[in-house]
Amino acid sequence: MKLAFTSEEEAFRDEVRAFFDASLTDELREAGRLMTSVYSDKEVALAWQKILLDKGWLVPSWPREYGGTGWTLTQRYIFACERARARPPALSPMGLSMLGPALLGRGTQAQKDHYLPRILSGEDFWCQGYSEPQAGSDLAGLQCQAIRDGDHYVLHGTKIWTTHAQFANRMFCLVRTGRFERPQQGVSFLLVDMEDPGVRCDPIRFVSGCATQCTVYFDNVRVPVSEIVGEENEGWSVTKYLLEFERGGGAAAPGLLEAIGHARMLLELLPEADRSGPARRLDDLQVQVHSLELTELRTLSETERTGSPGPASSLLKIQGSELSQAISEVAVELIGLHGMPFQPEAYALGNNVSAVGPEDGVTTVPFYLNNRAASIYAGSNEIQRNIISKAVLGL
């Protein structure tokens, strides 16, 4: 996308680009290129996190006193574009983009002082425990119990779809501390030590063959009452705040534009006469992505003004996920039979396996498969449409 930048902004862009060029090692670049989902492995994620932390660019949107950069919206947007272009590995978002903002908004001073530096340093590697086997998007079904016992809560229950739980030393989660008429009430937001002996993780094998998520079992896990964020039984308000950030805070479009460019390269696998159909679909998708990008920017402006993206975040979540899936559909169609072999060894980090098909296409199908979750997680797109029709449209 072309936007008119001031010369200061142009200079900033050059600086960011130079930084990415210089600081991304070959290993990190390879790890970025071989991602089969929106997550990178813990080691590479932390390696890249360390580089950004040293540069002071790890958490641009945080307040300056906690490590933020004080960038303007435009600068943050430029940074997102350059990141999409450079394709570094993904940072683990659970601490940096979810719990961090939640603590900044709703945590106590003690919580901020203790946890925020450990998030930045990577000393704490967080996972997120919302979903349960019987409660996806429906908080009323939340069954994980936290029973007060003196100055501790005692946890029993099961969490599911917990990304990187097997690597995390801490989890922020929702647990039931009471029963009230409104299902949102009676839920609390707790910080749990994953090294507690009562915690067990079972990785979940996915359709793609990857296992980035776990089922987590709590059996008599004791959590000090100081580890609650917000008020007891009012965890929903913390979650809501955080979910809106998760859905609306990001800038998906620059990455989607890169994905379109990547798919365009695969056009060459087709005989020339057959390219115009998929090429036109990519053009259509680029129109949508550009429209989304401008809407993301508009939402950022609104967020700065009002403090929260509000229900518009549902719109961005739907569009971001469905466009990503649509682009990925075209890529799979273009790669054709070359995408069909199951060859995880060809996208393992540090591999020197020669893949079937173009090197840049080894992740096309596993990414496609993992990415089907984009319309399911963080509140399925059906739930997002419910939110829009209720909260925005009053239906």
């Binding site: 072309k2 008119a4 429209s291 809407t295 518009a312 449409r385 419910n386 829009i388 239906l395």
Partner: protein, 379 residues
């Protein structure tokens, strides 16, 4: 990134909304249509619009304009689109003043712009000759004769061409239909000898005419811009037209959606309002999403015009493509959700659908804009 209106612009928008709702609503369009009004708009209303500064909204103060800018003009057009307002604003200001601002001589500026700003002069752009928008498709010929030019040929779908005082005519002085070079732009008095205007009632009651130029003689000073270089004017002019049409479309879809939501909240079936059915709710959420996406593209494109950014052509294609897409979905869904009553002329929703189809075609349909976008995006 001016993706929101500033205070002045928001004020202009509120005024426009109120004005159109009370002075130039859908009911006025219906009356003009049913009476087969020869002008096709109310000249009183037009005068009041001029008094509000709309006719001079992109004209420099030096020439009597208000110079509020393109974001403001877009806001006004959005409100006109919302109320299907019948007015010569688009033709006279976006196209007419637009062409003069881009290519007009100093004397054309000082002669004509003040009159436009005052609402005393209306213009129309005579460009298309085929069923699909074709910026450089003109075959109508202009041949030099003595100290002037002679124009010969036909133009179709000239918006407001039946009533405009002057016509901006794209004519070929060299080359053949489709060539970028060799086009020239002439200002022709609508009552000049040899000009035959046939009003064409459009399906959406928009005002348009087919115009025959049978050896129409004009002076050299009728030229707008350089001989053979009309494309230099037409290209930015059509970008503005696309952006402004997208702004108008934004209002049309927004209103069609608002009325549909109201209907969903009111109409009952099986004892409950139909807006409580999840099938319709999810489709309504999709309509909302489409409109918001279109809104972003329109706002960015308008602000690019104000800032004179170099991505105006790309954004023009984007805004018209996205608005076309969104309006298409919204207008069809609005009709379907209204059920049987939506099919009747009595309900307004069908008027929005028909207006939508004409808006989509004007200055290039969705496929045209998508292809243009793709070409520009790749440089």
């Amino acid at each position: 990134m001016a993706l929101v209106l500033n205070e002045d612009q928001a004020l202009i928008k509120d005024t426009a909304r109120e004005f159109c709702a009370s002075k130039a609503p859908v009911a006025q369009l219906r009356k003009l249509r049913d009476d087969q009004d020869p002008l096709g708009y109310s000249s009183d209303t037009w005068q009041q619009m001029a008094e509000l500064g709309w006719a001079g909204i992109v004209i420099p103060e030096a020439h009597g304009g208000t110079e509020f800018g393109w974001m403001a003009l877009g806001a006004v057009l959005e409100e006109q689109g919302r109320h299907l307002t019948a007015s010569p604003l688009f033709s006279t200001v976006v196209l007419g003043a637009g062409a003069l601002l881009l290519g007009g001589s100093d004397s054309q500026h000082s002669d004509l712009l003040p009159k436009i700003a005052a609402g005393e002069l209306t213009l129309a752009l005579a460009l298309e000759e085929s069923p699909h928008h074709n910026p450089f498709g003109s075959a109508l010929s202009a041949k030099q004769e003595g100290d002037g030019w002679v124009l010969k040929g036909d133009k179709q779908f000239v918006f407001d061409g039946h009533s405009a005082d002057q016509l901006l005519v794209a004519a070929r002085t060299n080359g053949k239909s489709g060539d970028r070079d060799g086009l020239s732009l002439f200002l022709v008095a609508a009552d000049a000898a040899g000009v035959t205007r046939t009003r064409s009632a459009m399906v959406d009651s928009r005002n348009a005419a087919n115009i025959e130029f049978g050896s129409v003689r004009v002076q050299t000073n009728a030229l707008v811009g350089a001989v053979g270089r009309a494309a230099d004017v037409l290209e930015p002019l059509l970008d503005r037209a696309r952006i402004c049409m997208a702004a108008e479309m934004l209002g049309t879809m927004d209103e069609a959606f608002a009325r549909t939501l109201a209907y969903l909240r009111e109409r009952k079936q099986f004892g409950v309002v139909i807006g409580s059915f999840q099938g319709l709710k999810h489709r309504a959420a999709d309509m909302f999403t489409e409109i918001e996406l279109a809104r972003s593209t329109v706002l960015d494109a308008l602000s690019a015009l104000d800032a004179n950014r170099d991505d105006v052509p790309l954004l023009a294609a984007l805004a018209k493509a996205k608005a076309g897409e969104a309006l298409h979905t919204v207008s069809l869904e609005a009709l379907q959700m209204h059920g049987g009553v939506g099919m009747t002329d009595e309900f307004d929703v069908g008027l929005f659908l028909k207006r939508a189809r004409v808006q989509e075609q004007a200055f290039g349909g969705r496929a045209f804009q998508r292809d243009r976008y793709a070409t520009l995006a790749r440089f």
